[in-house]
Symmetry: C2
Subunit: 741 residues, 2 copies
């Protein structure tokens, strides 16, 4: 393991020792337990298709301070790819687990003469330092690496809004710290950047960039613990005299003479709104220069998040579970300053009054399990996220689809802020419900997303466009419409209830009795030919007919009836056994294949649980265990597909403790056999809900019996409100299915 388990175990004892020197006798075995953060491998997902980053971030933090290999491409879309050997520097913003090549703001890199003398090109050539995983450590909120080309040790930690660097230099008269605002990768491109030297320890400025986020703004205040001897300002490789520079590719080199092992620290506070906002964030969150203390605080913040669900099980299970818990709390990202200011999706600055404005919502992914998980263990954040949705609605007239750093990117499909809102509403999360309904209805009527045709025809017709995704849109719109209908009914808007209840049936319009799949239609109502359900065609979003067949989460029994009971069951079996043929071309997104089931992408995520809906719960139990065993690990390539802002991880967290929301807006969880011995959900209302097992082992895959608070149950579901009351779900396991349960 490359993460700093040992360091943090050490820190853990250090904290105990510092905090209660008078209570030595109280160091009980309980206290000697490993900290939960020590189980997290922040490198999981940095190899393979996971696309995560290993750097320092606070839970839901604005800053994601992480090493950049400095190379473009899909593999390094989060800045860092485990197989690489280069570090170009440490930038302050990164996306976790996405396929979007954006962010990478404010690259900081220390250099010295050993490094610069070894360079082979002059001018604006980027220096790549060599590094080795042997000399790299990371844990939640902390990252450290030895830059082998310079001999400089780099350490990173962070508060929510302020990145904190600590560089340990060798003796050298030509040490440097560079801030490069011109650095960009992939879709990101700086448009206007500015650096102003306030004094020999303080620089301020901004980086405005265009990329997947069309108008991203990062204002910053950067402080150095030691005054620099001199600083040079550049635009690209052209040096400019004076104390301030504006240009597309600005850069500052701060020069130092360093003694052996001299540490120079750097704080970089961010804001989407203004330099003054960044300054306030700095003053409020990180007024001191105590690096170790900041590491401890970041670690403590993570310990608190991870403690929301604790498990009993093997050490390996804990590593897997808490590593996934960690990824659940990386995104969305805090977007507002300590005073509430943030750059809105309309390009104006706004104030988030009495709440944290979040952004970076990968909703097509996260409405499925991540947001439902937040409704259990992150209710305050859920409330603020919905406020964030509604402020986005106020700014743009629509709910976010895939919003990023104060921008709507319109990536992916659906209006999946709707199920998040509706789920939260029925789970009792406070919100302005009338406005939420208004926002949902407005988003469901945005013609730009082919909703005009959907309303006219009852489905989205196929078209010429490379990715018209017509079948996927039809199915997802219909599900979102069901959610709106439900909310409208509860709020007494019966017209809307009627309209959206009807729209919720639109999935039926693309069902093809002949192929027994959902099949694309043209605008005349004709099914298109040829059609093969296993082909990845433009009508299916990153998927095929097999994978989208199951997306009627609001009416599984209706779908079952439509197809026929036996056929539906047979089809579900085939989903997991009908493998692509050798020469079938699979797209980059179709990974983690078990038959046609692709755990590497979201449309499949609820499918293993559908056996619970057709009276074959033992197959859910088998398949979920198989997916956990074959598609997850804590190795760097431990995710079989993009981690996707918490969704791959939320699936694992739910499934490990035996729960999953098939319909993410129904306030009910489907039950399967937990893989862990026991789990305790420490609810924010002060209560705890336990999930306990009997006869837990790898062989004992099957549920023999279940009880809630001692009372036997035989339905494979549990209501959200039952969980919230606290109590215990007890599950007895055995080696053979109990078909009579």
């Amino acid at each position: 393991m490359k993460n700093s388990t040992y360091l943090l175990v050490f820190l853990s004892f250090a904290i105990i020792a510092c905090k209660s020197p008078e209570k030595k006798e109280k160091v009980t075995p309980e206290k000697e337990k490993r900290k939960l953060t020590s189980y997290v491998n922040t490198f999981t997902g940095t190899d393979g298709p996971g696309n995560t980053y290993p750097g320092a971030v606070a839970p839901f933090g604005m800053v994601q301070l992480s090493p950049d290999n400095g190379l473009p491409g899909w593999d390094r879309i989060a800045g860092y790819f485990y197989p690489d050997s280069t570090i170009a520097g440490f930038s302050h913003t990164h996306l976790s687990g996405t396929g979007a090549g954006d962010m990478y703001d404010l690259l900081v890199m220390p250099l010295n003469s050993k490094f610069t003398e070894s360079l082979t090109k002059e001018g604006d050539y980027r220096p790549y330092s060599k590094f080795s995983h042997d000399r790299e450590e990371a844990s939640p909120g902390y990252y450290s690496v030895d830059l082998l080309s310079s001999g400089i040790k780099a350490e990173l930690t962070t508060t929510e809004r302020v990145g904190f660097h600590q560089y340990t230099f060798p003796k050298d008269d030509k040490s440097q710290i560079i801030l490069d605002l011109g650095y960009s990768l992939n879709w990101d491109k700086p448009m206007e950047t500015k650096i102003t030297i306030e004094d020999k320890q303080t620089i301020v400025g901004y980086r405005k960039s265009k990329g997947w986020a069309a108008d991203q703004r990062v204002y910053f205040v950067m402080q150095f613990s030691k005054p620099f001897d001199k600083a040079q300002l550049f635009n690209k490789s052209k040096e400019i005299k004076g104390d301030s520079i504006t240009g597309q590719f600005t850069k500052i080199i701060a020069h130092y003479k360093t003694k052996a092992n001299e540490q120079i620290k750097v704080k970089v506070a961010l804001s989407s709104a203004s330099i003054n906002g960044a300054r306030k964030n700095l003053e409020s969150e990180l007024p001191h220069w105590d690096f170790e203390k900041t590491v401890e605080q970041a670690d403590a913040a993570w310990e608190k998040e991870l403690s929301k669900i604790t498990i009993e099980g093997t050490e390996a299970q804990k590593e897997l579970f808490y590593t996934n818990m960690y990824h659940v709390f990386l995104t969305p990202s805090l977007h507002s300053d300590v005073d509430g200011a943030y750059k809105g999706a309309d390009g104006e600055n706004h104030i988030a009054k009495d709440y944290n404005k979040y952004d970076t919502f990968s909703l097509w992914d996260t409405f499925r399990a991540t947001h439902p998980l937040y409704t259990i263990i992150s209710q305050k954040e859920t409330e603020d996220m919905i406020k964030s949705f509604l402020s986005h609605y106020e700014e743009t007239g629509l709910l976010p689809v895939w919003s990023l750093a104060g921008n709507e990117t319109n990536m992916m499909i659906g209006y999946h802020a709707v199920p998040v809102i509706v789920d939260a509403y029925f789970k009792g999360i406070p919100m302005d419900a009338q406005k939420a309904l208004e926002a949902c209805i407005a988003s469901a009527n945005e013609d730009g997303r082919q909703i005009d045709l959907y309303k006219k025809l009852g489905y989205v017709p196929t078209g010429e466009h490379h990715e018209n995704w017509s079948v996927s849109k039809t199915l997802e719109y219909a599900y979102n419409d069901w959610c709106i209908a439900k909310l409208a009914k509860d709020l007494g808007n019966f017209d809307a209830h009627r309209e959206f209840t009807k729209r919720a049936e639109n999935w039926r319009n693309l069902y093809d009795e002949k192929s027994t799949f959902f099949r694309p239609k043209d605008d005349k109502g004709n099914f298109i030919s040829p059609f093969s359900a296993k082909e990845y065609t433009k009508e299916f979003c990153e998927s095929n007919g097999w994978q989208y067949f199951w997306f009627v989460p609001h009416d599984i029994s209706g779908l079952e009836l439509t197809v026929g009971k036996e056929k539906f069951a047979a089809k579900l079996d085939s989903m997991f056994t009908y493998y692509p043929e050798k020469n079938d071309k699979l797209p980059i997104f179709s990974t983690g294949m078990i038959g046609q089931y692709a755990h590497g992408n979201e449309p499949s995520h609820h499918v293993a649980y559908l056996y619970n809906e057709i009276g074959q719960p033992w197959k859910t139990q088998e398949m979920v265990r198989k997916i956990i065993k074959t598609q997850y690990s804590t190795k760097p390539d431990g995710y079989c597909g993009n981690e996707d802002c918490g969704q791959m991880s939320a699936w694992l967290v739910f499934s490990s403790i035996g729960l999953y929301p098939i319909n993410p807006a129904e306030a009910v969880y489907s039950i399967t056999a937990p893989t862990v011995e026991a789990a305790t959900i420490n609810l924010e209302n002060g209560k705890t809900f336990k999930i306990t097992t009997e006869n837990q082992s790898e062989e004992n895959t099957y549920i023999q019996s279940m009880s809630i608070n001692g009372k036997p149950i035989n339905e494979f579901t549990i209501k959200h409100h039952t969980l919230m009351l606290g109590g215990e779900l007890h599950i007895v396991l055995g080696p053979k299915p109990n078909e009579y349960l």
Copy 2:
């Protein structure tokens, strides 16, 4: 091991089987021995500071067809760095083991829609494919890798002047093969490039570039085994209509529809002189499309080179030995076409009549052991290399210092073509000796290299220049002068003999009795202060006072007398025990440290053998074994410093068999204890010279007795002419020094 040992063992049997199907009974155990090429790990030196490349090259071949990671920097100066995960393509020229960031001509890369769909940036962004060492193989003359981002398998082989690619594509309508003349790395920069489409299977053109070689020209003819469907021509990212394009950054994309597992082959013939020269090279060397046959022929050519010295020993010793033998034959590079035409250092085309013109002479490195080794086993090539020196002299008025691809780079110091010539002359290699002497004298009087001051003052004075290397120049000039004196005397030029004999004493002018080191002087004759022999200052070329102290190879006894016998011996001991202190700043070149001895750079290379000169041969025996054991392996980071065009390897080859030329122009080899059981030098005159040992083991470090052809000897030297007569040097080893030998 990642190289294709198995493939080649298989090929080996296949060749036997094909060639003599009627002689099945002749497959004796002798023939079942592993081929020597199967011992070579072409990845050795691709990690760490070795700076070698793993691609396909014929012995001394013009083409070095090898994968490029596509990243700049010191680590990847040979195009490829083992820790990396990217492949940008396969370019046709690379330097082996140098610190010079040049070549990388004619990058070829196959792509397809799987790859291009995964790209994150449009336009002239370079696509990097992922690759894995698990799916990579190489052996002498062959390299293969699976490009994981596209699913295309790439295989490379080569003749001397024609690179041969074989790409195995998956089924795809959008397969591509790209030739990118605009691609460059490090110091290299394209100036003018041209591509002309002759027909759907043939393109021709050139790439003229500026870099370390100020005027490099690569003309080419490229043939595709299958006509492309269409081709697009670009300058940078701008597409140009028509069949021909000239510009700084030209590129062609050939488009194909490929069936599953369809192979498309590409041949790229090079010439420094003209397109027609490249065409003749292609017609002469590779008129067919048989890839496997070309792999076999390249393998056979390597087997022949490696067979020049065969050893008995452990399998690990054979891997180390033959891997180093392999690196000895990579450079210099063939520079003339099949018709003798080549681009000269004067910018004009010339014809090499009846010889192969070689270039890429890293003489500061290779005069020490590489060229002396060639005088034993590559006499024809030595003859042609000296002809190549003299043609360079005719073109420029000077012998080459560090010549590259028809250019003088003037890198490093000295006029070390001189010892190569003089060594070869006294070893009986045919040459135009009068012209050679004339060229040596001319080179020794080139004022541009501070020889004016050297002649005036008797030393090169220190100066302001960052790298004036004054001490190193003085010592190396004096040695080169001694060589000239020797040649002049033999040719009856007694004036020159007198003059250069005097100059050969110039090393004495920088000897400082107080510090007992060679010490920089200013032009007034004052030693400069402060002076610390362990400091790496500008007067020592990539070295310090300790490392250069020993560079009087022509007068070790004179140096010993000057310092004093006991002091000299004590100093030699200190050389290997006086380690740099923790905070001493070592330059990038000072690696492989044993005390102040730096095996990673050349000035140290003869030092361990100096114990032989002062009557303590057992210390040579100890130290040489220690260096072999600690500074060499066949792992990717198996060299402790730049491999340097064969010099690091030639040291290992000589030392493993118990020989080393302390004075590289003296036709005498110093003797140490071989590490191998026995070695057979298969001389080109048909004779064999054997070196055999008794009691060989790791513990039996010390020579107990020696005999040549049965006759006991007690001098630790053997003359070149003795070797050439054939015979046997027999060495008896034991665990304790025999101080009375």
